[in-house]
Symmetry: C2
Amino acid sequence: MIKIAVDAMGGDYAPKEQIEGAMLAIKNIPDIEITLYGESLKIAPYLTSKERITIVESDYVIDMGEKNPIKAIKDHPNSSMALALGSLRKQENDAVVSSGATQALIAGAHILVRRMPGFKRTAIAPMIPSIDGRGTILLDAGGNLDIRPEHMLQQAYFAAVYAKEVLGRVEPVVGLINIGTEDGKGRELDKEVFQIFKETKLFKFYGNVEPKSVMNPPCDILISDGFTANIVMKTMEGVAKGMGEMLKRELKSSFFGKLGALMAKNNLKQFKKSMSPEEIGGAMIYGLYAPVIKAQGASKAYGFYNAIRQAANVVRSEVYPKVAKYVMETSEQLNHEE
Amino acid sequence: MIKIAVDAMGGDYAPKEQIEGAMLAIKNIPDIEITLYGESLKIAPYLTSKERITIVESDYVIDMGEKNPIKAIKDHPNSSMALALGSLRKQENDAVVSSGATQALIAGAHILVRRMPGFKRTAIAPMIPSIDGRGTILLDAGGNLDIRPEHMLQQAYFAAVYAKEVLGRVEPVVGLINIGTEDGKGRELDKEVFQIFKETKLFKFYGNVEPKSVMNPPCDILISDGFTANIVMKTMEGVAKGMGEMLKRELKSSFFGKLGALMAKNNLKQFKKSMSPEEIGGAMIYGLYAPVIKAQGASKAYGFYNAIRQAANVVRSEVYPKVAKYVMETSEQLNHEE
């Protein structure tokens, strides 16, 4: 049995959507057990079954807008998030899924789960949609603002291994997000990263990639510093939402528009689905001792279910032991390249 | 008569689309004269009329992928771009429109047009589409990678004046692009800019804006450093293109999809138009002695025509004299705030 720890209280619509997502997961994934960390009184109304479900009582929820995430995690070891994360290190669970505050989850993961030996800086890696439907790994969408090129090398390497082992990409290619495709473009950081990536033998490097091709990139993995990649991710989200609203409004603006939309109802639904973060699932935190999946803060049941499914897939295919082995074996090379 | 200098040779589809765009402009805008800078032999095939058109011979085109833009401009004073830019300072023309290499145009503008007195750093400011159809000014989409907060103050101020005078926004609001909406988010630069903007009386400051709301921002102007804003612009372009392709494919995938698309043909066309850079026109370079408009490198005739129309509007409404007056009057305040 794969054991998944669920932070039942983190998220904009917690605990309702989290519990409903967990119920979906239990129903559809036969080889998992779920431990829900949260207030049992608030969880109970949404619990349709107790099969393969354990509840661990928690009396505190870390706020979604938490300003001081490190302090919050340290001051509240009994919070749903801290309890879920802490269970990994004690080997009570195999993976954590949370839609709680991103920065708190990162801080908590560092303090309570800790890094994979030899891994310098963790990264948040969501999958972003691509035209071909395969999706692209985006790094580092979460945290590190003051990143160094050698950290980015490790992150890209982790992503390449993940892409190969979990996503089945035969020879994963890494692209550097930049303002131009030519060599020598960008800030000092970008130029240094370009040079290191060009020389490495750890993965195949495409070169600079402009976000003009963010949805049909010539690579499996797109990487930049934490600020830039986060801006890319949020711009994608904003444009997808904005275009969706504009399309809807346009189709509603005339009789033939409405009729056409009615005809093409299923197609439009499928189109919407292909751009939905709910469909794509949660972001992985790379470089930890065990998998921690950050589901969207605004996750609904289906999105949260997908994040649980993703966690189960990662555990089932033994990604972390494989990656840890790779990292150990190559850490000498990594250290050398630094 | 408003005199527009057109770089006939710069752009992915030059000179064809540029000349056709100029022909459209002459036809639709009665109070303009256009001087075409380029090779008359290559221009001739697309010239349907010679009314209010002058051709100035040029024997060099600056390459779209020019690696050393400053050198290119200095070495080729007879290039179509350099000749067009040079005509501004000689007061032979009122504005320049070019879809040539961005960095060369910026470099050329600095060398040949020069800055507005008192203005520290020019900026490239495209309009990006918004859900309400009004559009948002994006700064600095072009060049300055090593920007200082006081430069960004001037740029935001220029944008605010432009928004008021040309776009008719009563009290333009400035928003700082950031990875979170809370105070204190982002890199050191973002924190410093936030502080300066919060204290200024030059314009209304909203605070941090996440690109999640890039298409319905709580402001008229979105600003960041040249790298970040360029990434935002290109991500928008990439997602718009990607989503357009996905929608098309989805609608073509079934009988009802095709039928619906046929019914809603005009609506889908209008939707496509609202996201098109062609529709939105060129980007302004702020802070120069006279208006220089950068049309998209991939401009087709209609997009290039729109950029010429934009140039004419800026000249007709006397934006630059007004802005220069504002800058002069407030330069003491600006200097003080530095």
